[in-house]
C-alpha cells in the first residue's frame, strides 16, 4: 500500500515539474511574440510617419509642378460633365 502511494506521489511530482517547465517555455515564447509585436508596432509608426512625409501635399505639388510640369487647367480647358443625378464626382 505504501509503495503504491509512493509511486503515485513520485508521478505527481514529476508531472508538476514537467508542467511547470512547459509553462515557462510557453511563457518565454509568448514574451518573445509580444516583444516582436511591440517592435512591429514601432516600425508601423515609423512607416506611417514616412508615408505622411513623402505624401505631404506640399511635396506632391512641388514634384507635380517642377518635375512633371503639371498645372491646374484654366476655365478655357475645363469641361464639366454632370452625372445622371446632377452630381459631379
Amino acid at each position: 500500500m505504501n509503495l503504491i502511494l509512493l509511486a503515485l506521489l513520485t508521478a505527481c511530482a514529476l508531472g508538476l515539474v514537467t508542467s511547470q517547465d512547459k509553462t515557462r517555455k510557453l511563457f518565454a515564447e509568448l514574451e518573445g511574440e509580444q516583444e516582436s509585436a511591440r517592435k512591429l508596432d514601432v516600425e508601423w509608426g515609423q512607416l506611417q510617419l514616412e508615408q505622411s512625409t513623402w505624401a505631404m501635399h506640399a511635396r506632391v505639388e512641388k514634384v507635380a509642378r517642377e518635375r512633371l510640369h503639371m498645372s491646374v487647367p484654366d476655365a478655357k480647358h475645363t469641361q464639366v460633365v454632370m452625372s445622371a443625378k446632377g452630381v459631379q464626382q
Binding site: 515557462r24 518565454a28 509608426g45 505622411s52 505631404m56 478655357k76 469641361q79 464639366v80 452630381v87 459631379q88
Partner: protein, 575 residues
C-alpha cells in the same frame, strides 16, 4: 581484543559532566528553534519580500501617445520611440577608437563628448532622442558608464503648414500648445506596470501579476482636411509675401457642419525643430487674436433691419453727399453716389448707409443680434486661449458708437468668430457651432434670422463681388460667390494708426447652395494696396476655387473666363 576491558570504561567519571552536555545540547536546540520561530513567524513578511526582490521585478509598460489625424485619416502627429544616451562620467572608460566611433554615431565632434563628460561627475545626457537603430549600434560598443533610456518623440509630417493648430509636446511628451494641449487627457496614454519573475539570465520566466494594464492614448480625428489646409496655407503665403504683410490668417469652415476644414497662420514655425521661436510665430491668430473687422460686419446690421421688416433690399437710404454728422463726429464714404438702395449699401460698402440703417434700430436689438451670432463670447472650441472679442453692453452705447459698430468699428472679433457668424447667411439663417474635431452626426444650428432674410443677404453679398461691387477679385470661374470685404485701421495705443491696416474678406460659395465659408485676414499689407478687395479677396478666390474643385462641388455658373477690372478700379470702401 576485549573492548569492555578498556581502561577508559572502567573510569568512573562524575555524573554532572554528562548532564552538563545534555543541557548544553538542549539549549543549543532551543536557540535554534527560537531563531526558526523568529524568522519563520515574526520576520516572515520582511524576509519573503527580500527574497522575492531577488527574482521578481516590477516592469513599467509604456503607453504611446495617440495619433492626430486629419478627417481622412492622414497622420498629422505621430509618436515614435527614440532613445536617449546618458552617461555617468566617473565610470566612463573608452579607448580613443571607441570615442571616435561613438562620436560618429551620435553625429557630434569628439571634443563635444569630452566637454559634456567633464561638465558633471554624476549624470549627463550625451544626446537625446536618437533613432533606435543608432542606439542599438551605440550599445554594441559596450562602453562602461554609458546608458540609454527609452523616450517618445512626436513628429509632425505637416511641418509649418498646420503648426499653430496642432501645437506641440515637450520632451516628456506632454502637450504644450494647440490641440496637443487642449486634448492632452485624451491623447496621453497611462503607462502600466506588471510583476514578473526573472531567472539569473535576466529572462522573464513567469508573469505573477498585472498591477496596472497600460492604456495607450486615444487617436484624435480632426476636422481638418490636409489637402485643403495645404492649399489655404500656400495661397496665404503667396499673398502675405506679395503684400509685404506682417501677418496673415485664413480659416475655411464647412457651412453645413461648422467644422474647421483648414486654418492657417503666418508667420509660422516648424514644430519638428523648435529652436529660436518667437511669440508671433506661435500665435494662432484665427482663434486667439481679435481685430476690428470693419465692413465685414455690415451684413449683420442690414440682416437685422430686414428681419425686423424695417427695410427691404430696395428701400432707398439717403446717402447722397457721402457724409453724415452725429454729434461731433462725421462719417464719410469714399465715393459719392446718389441715394442708394439697401442692396447697394452692401454692394458698394457704404458707411453712411450702414450707419443710417443702424440708427433706425434699437440698440438692444443690435446688441442681441451680435450676441446671437457669437460676438463677445469665446466659441466653445476647447482650444487654449480662444478669444471672445469685445462687445460692450448696449446700455453704454452712444449714438455714434451704434453707428460705427454697424460698419465694424468699436467692436472686435476673432477671424473664426467672423467666419462662423457668416454661416447664418450660408445656412438659411442657422448659426453652426464651430468644431476642430470631425463631426460625424448631422449638426443642427441655431436659427438667428429668417431663411428668407438669409437668402436676400446672400443675393446682396453676390452683388458685392460683381463688377460694381467692392470685391470683383473674389469671383471664381464656374461658381457663384457671395462675400464682403473689410478694411480697417489698426488700433494702436488707444487710437487708430494712420498707415496701418487690416484687410479682410469673408465669403461663401457656391451661392446657390453654400458649402464653404472662408475668412481671410491680412495684417498690415504694405506693398501699396491695402483694401480688402485687392489684398484679401484674391486669396479667398484661389482657396475657394481650389477647395470646391477638390470637394467635387458641381458648378452653378457658366465656365467662362472672368474679366477683371484694371488694377485699383474697383469700388473702395472708406476706412
Amino acid at each position: 581484543m576485549n573492548y569492555s576491558a578498556s581502561p577508559v570504561l572502567a573510569l568512573q567519571l562524575p555524573l554532572w559532566r554528562s548532564r552538563m552536555l545534555l543541557v548544553l545540547i538542549a539549549a543549543g536546540f532551543l536557540v535554534l528553534a527560537g531563531r526558526a520561530v523568529y524568522l519563520q513567524g515574526m520576520r516572515n513578511d520582511f524576509l519573503q519580500q527580500k527574497g522575492e526582490s531577488r527574482y521578481s521585478r516590477v516592469l513599467e509598460i509604456s503607453a504611446t501617445r495617440g495619433k492626430i489625424t486629419d478627417r481622412h485619416g492622414e497622420a498629422l502627429a505621430i509618436s515614435t520611440p527614440v532613445k536617449s544616451v546618458w552617461a555617468i562620467p566617473e565610470e566612463v572608460q573608452f579607448s580613443t577608437q571607441q570615442r571616435s566611433k561613438l562620436a560618429a554615431l551620435l553625429e557630434m565632434p569628439p571634443k563635444e563628448i569630452d566637454r559634456r563628460l567633464n561638465d558633471s561627475t554624476s549624470f549627463v545626457y550625451l544626446k537625446r532622442q536618437i533613432p533606435p537603430e543608432i542606439a542599438e549600434r551605440v550599445s554594441e560598443l559596450h562602453i562602461p558608464g554609458l546608458f540609454q533610456n527609452g523616450e517618445y518623440r512626436r513628429y509632425y509630417p505637416g511641418g509649418e503648414v498646420m503648426a499653430q493648430v496642432l501645437g506641440f509636446t515637450g520632451a516628456d511628451d506632454v502637450g504644450q500648445d494647440g490641440i496637443e494641449l487642449a486634448f492632452q487627457s485624451t491623447l496621453a496614454g497611462k503607462s502600466g506596470s506588471r510583476r514578473v519573475i526573472k531567472d539569473r539570465m535576466g529572462q522573464i520566466v513567469e508573469d505573477t501579476e498585472s498591477i496596472r494594464a497600460a492604456q495607450d492614448g486615444r487617436d484624435l480625428t480632426l476636422a481638418l482636411d490636409a489637402k485643403l489646409q495645404n492649399l489655404a496655407f500656400s495661397q496665404l503665403k503667396l499673398a502675405v509675401d506679395a503684400n509685404k504683410a506682417k501677418a496673415g490668417a485664413i480659416v475655411v469652415l464647412d457651412a453645413k457642419t461648422g467644422e474647421v476644414l483648414a486654418l492657417a497662420n503666418l508667420p509660422t514655425y516648424n514644430p519638428n525643430n523648435r529652436s529660436r521661436l518667437s511669440g508671433a510665430q506661435l500665435r494662432n491668430r484665427v482663434i486667439t487674436d481679435t481685430f476690428e473687422p470693419g465692413s465685414t460686419l455690415k451684413p449683420f446690421t442690414v440682416a437685422l433691419a430686414i428681419d425686423e421688416g424695417r427695410v427691404t433690399p430696395n428701400t432707398k437710404i439717403a446717402t447722397a453727399g457721402g457724409s453724415m454728422t452725429i454729434g461731433h463726429a462725421t462719417i464719410h464714404d469714399a465715393h459719392r453716389f446718389d441715394d442708394m438702395t439697401v442692396a447697394q449699401v452692401i454692394q458698394r460698402s457704404s458707411n453712411v448707409g450702414a450707419a443710417k440703417i443702424a440708427l433706425s434700430l434699437p440698440a438692444e436689438d443690435m446688441w442681441d443680434m451680435f450676441d446671437k451670432v457669437g460676438f463677445g463670447t469665446a466659441p466653445r472650441l476647447h482650444f487654449p486661449g480662444a478669444a471672445g472679442g469685445r462687445l460692450r453692453p448696449y446700455k453704454s452705447w452712444r449714438p455714434i458708437e451704434q453707428a460705427t459698430m454697424a460698419y465694424g468699428h468699436g467692436i472686435s472679433v476673432s477671424l473664426l468668430q467672423l467666419a462662423r457668424a457668416y454661416t447664418i447667411f450660408a445656412d438659411d439663417g442657422e448659426l453652426m457651432p464651430p468644431s476642430l474635431l470631425r463631426v460625424d452626426a448631422p449638426v443642427t444650428g441655431k436659427q438667428v434670422i429668417a431663411p428668407a432674410t438669409a437668402r436676400k443677404l446672400r443675393d446682396m453679398l453676390e452683388l458685392a463681388v460683381q463688377p460694381g461691387g467692392t470685391a470683383p477679385r473674389a469671383r471664381i470661374v464656374g461658381y457663384r460667390v457671395a462675400g464682403k470685404t473689410g478694411t480697417a485701421h489698426k488700433e494702436e495705443n488707444g487710437g487708430y494708426a494712420k498707415n496701418k491696416y487690416v484687410a479682410s474678406f469673408v465669403g461663401l460659395a457656391p451661392a446657390s447652395a453654400p458649402r464653404l465659408v472662408i475668412a481671410v485676414m491680412i495684417d498690415e499689407p504694405s506693398a501699396g494696396q491695402y483694401y480688402g478687395g485687392a489684398v484679401a479677396a484674391p486669396v479667398f478666390s484661389a482657396v475657394m476655387g481650389g477647395a470646391l474643385r477638390m470637394l467635387g462641388v458641381p458648378p452653378d455658373a457658366p465656365l467662362e473666363p472672368l474679366t477683371l477690372p484694371p488694377d485699383g478700379s474697383e469700388i473702395k470702401e472708406d476706412v
